[in-house]
């Protein structure tokens, strides 16, 4: 029925990656280069970019215009908000989040990075490590991104010099020994000229490692999800109330961890009731098991009261349940975090409120130590904070599970999302 190309496409996996690094280090240009060299740019897009570059009067075609889509971004030549781009090679399908380097827009960088399996952190070979390099590397580590690739960019501007690359790599190694990232790589590139992006550079024969594209296509990602601790946050209760399905009560959600099978013993939190899984449905199709990150509907053998915000978990492996929650917070709002202030919390499908009990410390981003002096958490700061919630949350540590270990805070007067929290 299908030829090989079609068939291959139906069997690809998905890698989500993000770019990071300081302003003008070349993130958007790199994405443009990746798309261009893998021939993913359509004629009408390229024409539009050529026309826009010409209008700006610079000789070269500015590949960053492929992702900087907002008027204000094009006018200022910077990225303000995340742009999502998509491409596929015969091996993999990619979702790219191109994020801004400017400190003012750190919240948008965190948005793009929160779902990534891999982060490309760019460093300008002329400038080396900057404060934003540190901030973004630390955020990538906090967000539990398992793979980080440091691309030392603009090698064309340092005569493709090996010593420059080695020195920056050494500095990055010293710095990142304090981070918790499983897999770190270093590549010398020129996003503008294309060296070591998709095609191997002839101008850096001293570099023996893989190109960026090779890494993106081959990095092993299957082990990045938690298939051990069974967690199923209930999003929605499905009640058809039709003749045919008169008494049907199904619990819809997305598996956040582990593998659930028909007949499994489960606990429901917060009630603590026990039951067994009677059925699992994925759409019309009944399935024997469901694993992260599948969206399914479960029914249980017993009539128990379950609603949105509850969580169904494996009977012999419970998450932590507590109203006292210790988090690393990234703060996004102009108004600083208010100690004793009250915020709305969203954790999985559960909505609650909380009060900020205490700031344990604020991080000094460049040293990765606790900051001295003023502990006020301001916009773009990161700190360790103690929350007290109105109802218990059922969670795992973020390092163990990115879904059940994450939460956001919402300002109740403006409804803005003011912080991302990773439970420690």
């Amino acid at each position: 029925m299908k030829d090989n190309s079609t068939h291959g496409y139906l069997d690809m996996d998905l890698l989500r990656f993000t770019t990071a690094g300081s302003v003008d280090d070349g993130k958007s240009t790199l994405i443009g280069r990746l798309l261009y060299d893998t021939k993913q740019i359509f004629e009408d897009q390229m024409e539009a970019v050529e026309a826009a570059s010409a209008k700006r009067g610079n000789g070269d075609v500015d590949l960053s215009l492929l992702t900087d889509g907002l008027r204000a971004e094009r006018e200022q030549g910077i990225t303000i908000d995340v742009a999502y781009r998509y491409f596929a090679t015969p091996k993999r399908k990619f979702i790219i989040a191109d994020t801004p380097g400017h400190i003012q827009y750190t919240r948008n960088m965190v948005t793009g990075a929160s779902t990534a399996n891999l982060a490309i952190i760019l460093v300008d070979a002329r400038k080396g490590i900057l404060e934003q390099t540190c901030r973004h590397s630390f955020i990538a580590s906090l967000l539990g991104i398992p793979h980080v690739v440091f691309c030392i960019n603009k090698m064309d501007l340092v005569d493709y010099d090996e010593a420059t690359f080695t020195r920056i790599q050494k500095e990055l190694e010293d710095f990142s020994s304090k981070l918790e990232v499983r897999d770190i790589r270093y590549i010398p590139i020129s996003a503008l000229k294309g060296d070591n992006v998709v095609d191997r550079s002839e101008r850096m024969p001293w570099y023996q490692g893989p190109t960026l594209m090779y890494l993106l296509e081959n990095i092993h990602i299957a082990g990045d999800l938690n298939h051990i601790d069974r967690r199923f946050p209930v999003q929605y209760v499905v009640r058809p109330m039709t003749q045919e399905h008169h008494d049907f009560r199904g619990f819809a959600g997305r598996v956040a961890g582990g593998v659930f099978r028909k007949g499994d013993q489960v606990n429901v939190l917060p009630s603590g009731f026990q039951s067994t899984i009677k059925s699992i449905n994925l759409g019309e199709r009944e399935v024997d098991e469901a694993f992260a990150p599948q969206s399914v509907v479960m029914t249980l053998a017993d009539e128990i009261d379950i609603s949105r915000g509850d969580v169904i978990v494996g009977a012999n492996n419970l998450p932590e349940s507590s109203q006292d929650v210790d988090v690393m917070l990234c703060w996004f709002n102009e108004r600083p975090l208010q100690v004793n202030g009250k915020y709305a919390v969203k954790h999985n499908s559960r909505d609650a409120r909380c009060v900020i009990k205490e700031v344990k410390y604020r991080m000094d981003i460049s040293s990765l130590h606790k900051a001295d002096g003023d502990q006020t958490i301001r916009m773009n700061d990161i700190g360790r904070v103690q929350l007290r919630t109105t109802v218990p949350l059922h969670f795992d540590k973020y390092q163990r599970n990115r879904f059940t270990g994450s939460l956001i805070l919402v300002d109740e007067s403006t409804n803005e999302t003011v912080a991302a929290g990773m439970i420690v």
């Binding site: 029925m1 030829d3 190309s5 079609t6 139906l10 690809m12 996996d13 998905l14 359509f42 004629e43 009408d44 897009q45 026309a51 492929l66 889509g69 907002l70 008027r71 204000a72 094009r74 908000d81 995340v82 742009a83 999502y84 998509y86 596929a88 399908k93 948008n108 965190v110 948005t111 299957a222 298939h227 999003q235 929605y236 499905v238 109330m241 045919e244 399905h245 049907f248 199904g250 819809a252 959600g253 997305r254 593998v259 449905n281 994925l282 759409g283 019309e284 992260a292 990150p293 969206s295 509907v297 954790h347 990115r402 879904f403 994450s406 956001i408 919402v410 409804n415 999302t417 991302a420």
Partner: protein, 301 residues
Amino acid sequence: MHSYRLTHLKELESESMHILREVAAQFERPMLLFSGGKDSIVCFHLARKAFFPAKVPFPLLHVDTGHNFEETMTFRDELVKEHGAQLFVGSVQESIDSGRVQEETGYYASRNKLQTVTLLDSLEKHKVDCAIGGGRRDEEKARAKERVFSHRDEFGQWDPKNQRPELWNIYNGKKRPGEHFRAFPISNWTEMDVWQYIMLENIPIPSIYFSHEREVFKRDGVIYANSPVMRLKPEEKPYQMRVRFRTIGDMSCTGAVDSPASTLEEIIDEVASSRVTERGSRMDDKRSEAAMEDRKKEGYF
């Protein structure tokens, strides 16, 4: 050993189902914007999967420019009947008749821009607090910037420079009275993903996506269907041709492609080798460099 791995289409499907359920749970009165095009059809299919065996818990809303392909309308009505869905129609013609908007004139007249007023009026009339759309980020550079849960102020406006952070799969749908949200469950899908999924799941789509004989004419290099809504210039002569449509929008701004593709497999091969984006044949985006951003700020889909 068993490997717990999802293909990218299954992962996208799962993400979309999760988003649709979040919409149903967080809003009082969501509606699915339904144009009869492939993206809204896929959204409806995903919604059926997300809530099975219950019915899709929100109605469909069609913003009708009055300049539709007949095949799309027939398809829409059959789908509504088959699945017992509830359909509301917001009519651009009514907006014109009641003086809410003024019809454009001239050869390039299109009702595309007028839709925004009809859309916002319909949302207000039906007290819709979240309009679910089939927009995809790969369609256009301004769309590439939009959140899955996208906030609109009381005037229906989008503020692209000040969007809420959107982390992990936690969606913040909190808002004040009078404001609303747009939600885009298939944000992360590409045109190719949509076609592959239609094939994988065997989803019916309107016949005009497949190659067929039709009376057309050419303008500025774009092939348009000849119809009473188009005003031809004296030198434009209609002729018969085998074409199909890559997107289905308002007749006055949707170009056809010269194509023999009459099966999904053939369409997919064609999409794979195509050198222009699907919106490349839409006049509405060509009006200026930031045409889409400007329309979206005003409240367009």
